[in-house]
């Protein structure tokens, strides 16, 4: 795989391979702005804008699906990133 890898100094030992696409999406109609997703995301991928959850960036997403689990209204949908992309670590 020759794709360029990204790193983040707050999360050492992990690389992200771009090309994942929108594997997490949010339906703003259903979102109540409860901020559950913002609270559980250790990668800091979420933010609230005008009382709706928005994805800030999936650059530090570790695909744990916590946001998807805690979304009571089903506004967040989650699938796996494209094969061969997303986070990777040698220390797992």
């Amino acid at each position: 795989m020759n794709q360029k890898k990204r790193t983040n100094e707050r999360f050492p030992g992990v690389e992200w391979i771009p090309g994942t696409g929108a594997f997490i999406t949010v339906d703003t109609e259903k979102c109540t702005g409860c901020a559950n997703c913002v609270n559980v995301c250790l990668g800091d991928c979420w933010t609230l804008m005008a009382k709706k959850a928005r994805i800030k960036s999936l650059d530090t997403c570790m695909e744990c699906a916590s946001c998807w689990y805690v979304c009571d209204t089903g506004a967040i949908s989650f699938k796996w990133p494209t094969g061969g992309t997303g986070y990777r670590s040698d220390w797992g």
Binding site: G13, M62, C64, A65, Y69, W80, T82, G83, G84, S89
Partner: protein, 571 residues
């Protein structure tokens, strides 16, 4: 043209390769699909694989040389009631006694990545085809029956049976309409830090002991027990793993701000706990931080437990089937057991040409019949721990820690452990010598870092230091035992069968005996210590220099149609 396989395994974590290897060895055309670019990239660590996984798990792991990091022989508990004033009780009595320790340990700490690679490589050698960088998004249904999988590219791959080992999120099973998404109450989010440390420092500071930290909620020192595991530190070969985990939601309440809490807990431990601040921190540097959700509460919820683990043409194993141990917070043994069973059932189903739901029910029956697996996913001590913590009672907390992991455990785990032991002996009495050799071989591998693919093959035995007498004694006893097991096979099998049925009495009997055994053990521990230590040292010296051939078990490798002789490029 569409490809046709006998078996497709989704995922190459701990369970997938076990199932794939067995199917390939049976001559089935097997494909294993992994969504990451190389095996083991998308796993996080921080674990001790409990010994029952190795004892009752797949043969090739028991008889092989898997890459673990360090044996685990004890847990040192820090009960922190006032962190700012340093009120900390250290309980170091939870350990495997000498001379059994360290050769006989209660588990082995491991990095998931090399372990999964090792397993995948074994599956590959047996003839499994491996496809990486491929994400399965759905199953193919033909007349209601699962007939293969669909990749994100739209590619369709057909198979007689699909074994789903994709992990706790279970997206494929949800898409296929077999299972539902877990509620956040069932999921614990684990936050792991990997610290690099010199081996000599890990030896000195940790030895073979794990460290658990327990604190009252307002101490903000470790996530509340019962809602997670608190905080655990695992010593590895040349590193240390720090893991805290917390449930995503507590009993219908509010979702906690884990982003803030985890940082707080980590900072408090590393800055305020004297042991960490003064001893550990100066000797370690952080190398990685990673996290993952896992479903430790699924086994405790009757409704969630009832979710199907099979359907027409598909079997779910490991985390994908909700088989995560609540007591030890470990899904590896359950993944191995279920993968082994799933492979057996898949092979039989394909040979009979019947992969219907009705036939695959056999898998569910055998899962329910697996005493250790069922015990591990349904033990409830976690609630006791939480209760003690809410009561802020250190004595009660200590009691429940010892009930969960110490001698008290025998009152609820002895029956399942004995049942599985007798069942294995009934199947093959020679397993006893295989278990003994496993302990010795594993410990020798730990000393010499001599796993497969880590130079085991090139190791030169130091002839001058070989303990010839010890070797002769070992050979005499192991050989004698093996001969006896072979000669008395029918009798031993009969006894094992009787033992299996009598095991039901073990827990209640243990409950009666424990009040006697406990004080007796306490009384004898000190005076027996010097003898135990000396014996233990002798055993360790013997294992260190003995010829590794002594502990080898003849492998029964059978290779399927597509078996490979050279190693694949997956490392």
């Amino acid at each position: 043209m569409d490809k046709m396989y006998d078996v497709i395994v989704i995922g190459s974590g701990f369970g997938g390769p076990v199932a794939a290897k067995k199917c390939a060895e049976a001559g089935l055309r097997t494909l294993m699909i992994e969504r990451s670019a190389t095996v083991g990239e998308k796993v996080i660590s921080g674990l001790t694989i409990p010994i029952y996984g190795f004892l009752f798990g797949p043969d090739f792991i028991r008889d092989g040389n898997p890459p673990f990091e360090r044996p685990a022989d004890g847990i040192i508990n820090y009960i922190i009631t006032d962190i700012d004033n340093g009120v900390i009780e250290i309980d170091d009595t939870l350990r495997v006694p000498r001379p059994f320790s360290p050769v006989i340990s209660f588990g082995y700490n491991a990095y998931c990545k090399p372990f999964c690679e090792w397993e995948a490589e074994k599956a590959f050698q047996a003839g499994t085809e491996l496809r990486t960088s491929a994400t399965v998004v759905d199953v193919i249904r033909e007349n209601g029956k699962v007939a293969g999988i669909i990749l994100e590219t739209g590619e369709r791959i057909f198979s007689r049976i699909v074994i789903d080992a994709e992990g706790s999120q279970g997206l494929v099973a949800i898409k296929a309409g077999i299972r539902k998404k877990y509620p956040p109450e069932a999921i614990s989010l684990a936050d792991t830090y990997d610290y690099e440390m010199d081996k000599s420092d890990v030896d000195k500071l940790f030895g073979y002991s794990l460290r658990f930290c327990w604190g009252w909620d307002e101490q903000k020192i470790a996530p509340p027990l019962g809602h997670g595991n608190g905080l655990m530190v695992w010593p590895y070969r040349e590193s240390v793993h720090f893991m805290q985990d917390h449930c995503l939601r507590l009993d219908g309440g509010k979702v906690p701000n884990l982003k803030k809490r985890f940082r707080e807990y980590h900072d408090n431990i590393t800055r305020k706990l004297p042991w960490w601040r003064e001893e550990v921190a100066p000797r370690c540097t952080v190398r990685a931080r990673m996290w993952e959700g896992f479903e430790i509460y699924v086994g405790l919820d009757p409704e969630l437990r009832k979710m199907p683990n099979h359907d027409d043409g598909i079997l779910l194993i490991g985390d994908a089937a909700g088989l995560e141990s609540t007591e030890l917070c470990d899904g590896v043994p359950a993944a191995w057991f279920s993968a082994d069973i799933a492979a057996d059932v898949a092979i039989e189903a394909i040979r009979r040409g019947d992969t219907s739901k009705a036939f695959l029910k056999k898998y569910d029956d055998r899962i329910k019949d697996h005493a250790v697996l069922q015990w591990s996913i349904s033990a409830k001590n976690r609630y006791n721990l939480r209760y003690a913590q809410e009561k802020k009672d250190p004595r009660l907390l200590k009691k429940y820690i010892h009930n969960g992991w110490g001698m008290g455990q025998l009152t609820h785990s002895l029956t399942p452990i004995l049942k599985m032991t007798f069942r294995q002996i009934q199947k093959d009495p020679a397993v006893i010598t295989k278990w003994i050799k496993m302990y010795f071989r594993y410990y020798q591998n730990w000393i010499h870092n001599g796993y497969d693919f880590a130079g085991r093959e090139d190791r030169i035995v130091d002839e001058a230091r070989r303990p010839k007498t010890g070797e002769a004694v070992f050979r005499f006893f192991a050989g004698g035992l093996e001969l006896m097991l072979r000669l008395l096979r029918p009798l031993i099998q009969l006894l094992a069968m009787a033992g299996f049925y009598l095991s039901g009495l073990a827990n209640p009997v243990m409950k009666l005996l424990l009040p006697v055994i406990r004080p007796l053990y306490k009384l004898l521990r000190k005076p027996m210590a010097p003898l135990g230590n000396r014996l233990s040292d002798e055993i360790v010296r013997f294992v260190k220099y003995a010829d590794p051939k002594l502990f080898e078990v003849a492998s029964e490798t059978k290779c399927g149609a597509g078996a490979k002789t050279s190693l694949p490029d997956i490392r």
